[in-house]
Assembly symmetry: C2
Homo-oligomer: 312 residues x 2
């Protein structure tokens, strides 16, 4: 076993509602994983205690392993508030702003900073965690990359850097409307996605010749039901199709892609399938993307950090 393979690290994905730790080797292979519901909002500030209890079995077996964390654990409501590195930025720029904290057991935890786009209107835009996924996806080819989520990000990779990005709150709109709105009051959510209803909404938005927006389009969930064109079982996925397709139209109007462009969809959950489907419906070409971009990005930044420290 060469040195790279045997180099273990722990990668933390510690979000608002869940705690996830991955034990990975130097090639990014996941050796073991721990998942609990001890999200940031439930641990009452005892970050150290929760972390140490969780990784005790690994410490007993492997000794002290350096820990890296990206995302919301480094936010205002997290363990420490990390700065935002201004775009354009690459792995080196992110590595230069990490903060490493000594732990009582002699180990360390290193927090990766977020990214800001100071050119955004009206306030600087922000991401936490997606910058690490973008590094893991790779910054070699100039391309637009979409990262779906509660607050989806559209990012532009150019010249080996994350050049610019913008947030679209698509997931939040879908989540709140599907759960709390009159619009979808009579909706019955199917157990598996109703892709036919979803595709119908995507085509409706794509083929709309008017310069309409979300406020007008959303009412089609209700008028479709009232007119008998949509059944209660179709409404949730029709809503989803409207919202995601509207995101693609809005992103296009803002210059994030042109007709027939090659883009990537990066993430690790069902939303990648949803967004890839819409991208294809809009005639875009999908670049391949790994489903472990977060792990790859964390390792790339860790290596940049450790390389600087070795040469210092």
């Amino acid at each position: 076993m060469n040195a790279k393979v045997s180099q273990l690290r722990i990668i933390l994905d510690w979000g608002t509602t869940s705690f996830r730790a991955l034990l990975v080797n130097g090639t990014g292979k996941v050796i073991d994983r721990i998942e609990t519901e001890e999200g940031i909002q439930s641990v009452r500030g005892d970050f150290l205690g929760v972390l140490q209890r969780a990784i005790t079995p690994w410490r007993e077996k492997h000794g002290i392993v350096p820990i890296y964390a990206a995302g919301m654990i480094g936010s205002r409501n997290g363990w420490i508030e990390m700065p935002y590195v201004p775009a354009p930025a690459d792995a080196g720029a992110l590595a230069a702003q990490v903060k490493t904290m000594q732990l009582p057991d002699g180990g360390t935890i290193t927090f990766i900073p977020g990214l800001t786009d100071p050119s955004a209107y009206p306030f600087p835009d922000v991401m936490r965690g997606e910058e690490t996924q973008l590094v893991g996806f790779g910054l070699n080819e100039d391309m637009t990359v979409v990262l779906p989520g509660t607050h989806a990000k559209w990012a532009r990779i150019a010249g080996g850097q994350i050049a610019a990005f913008q947030t679209l709150v698509t997931g939040e709109i879908f989540g709140t409307l599907s759960q709390h709105s009159f619009l979808s009051k009579v909706a019955r959510k199917p157990e598996t996605p109703d892709w036919e209803a979803f595709d119908k909404a995507v085509a409706m938005v794509r083929d709309d010749a008017r310069p309409a927006g979300l406020l007008t389009r959303l009412f089609a969930v209700r008028t479709g039901w009232l007119s008998g064109a949509l059944s209660p079982a179709e409404m949730t996925d029709y809503l989803s199709g409207i919202v995601v397709a509207s995101e693609f139209r809005e992103a296009k109007s803002l210059g994030w892609y042109v007709d027939g462009a090659r883009i990537a969809v990066v993430g690790d959950d069902d939303l990648v399938e949803v967004y890839s489907r819409v991208a294809k419906a809009f005639g875009l070409i999908l670049a391949p993307a790994p489903d472990d971009a977060a792990v790859r990005g964390c390792l790339a930044i860790a290596e940049a950090v450790e390389s600087v420290r070795r040469s210092a």
Copy 2:
């Protein structure tokens, strides 16, 4: 007292969450009113019982008085499902489609139909109740009229008729996001509207040179807070300003008004102030509008119905 003044009618405003009855004379003066929380969703189908118990004091004092009802009580979840009259339509067209039901006490209740715009994309648009407000506002002058609400309506009056209309789900977006979203999670709602924060958001949306939409603009609530530009107390009204101003931009892009146009805002609650404020910020001229348009419209339709019946 002439015959018109002494002609009493009961106007019902029976919505999803509340019951309201007005006793009005022939000039539209409100003589008495009853309000309870017995909305459509709480009466378990006993519409007749709830109505009769509520108006017993009036019947004892004034005898049998004809009852008129517009809006959601005539919807799929209400007492009876009334048809939608297709636009273009005027008071006469609405009066021609009313349904009158005999009540056990010898009185009558007359339901006013809704209105549909069959030209809407992708499904026919619908309104229930707003058509009566539009009649009460008056159809003499060609003009665009905005009716704020959970599902706001933009209507075009032309040639003495309601010519066309469109629904924008602005109130629903604001309501669900202000109560349930991460966006406004740290917001502290002030007791009185923070007009300064509201106006700041309206100007931000109005002055945005980009062809942005709601999905990108909404994130400014969060980035404004993160960047220190917005305090938690300002966030709710900033959100409100973004949503309503985005409605005005979307309505303009769809041709509902041109720069400097004369429009009216019709309704009977605080939203009229909110929308009038945005209209002025967008350089529009406000036509005067009565705050009892619903009562006036109901009476105009009632008179059309009764006039036809007298001459039959």
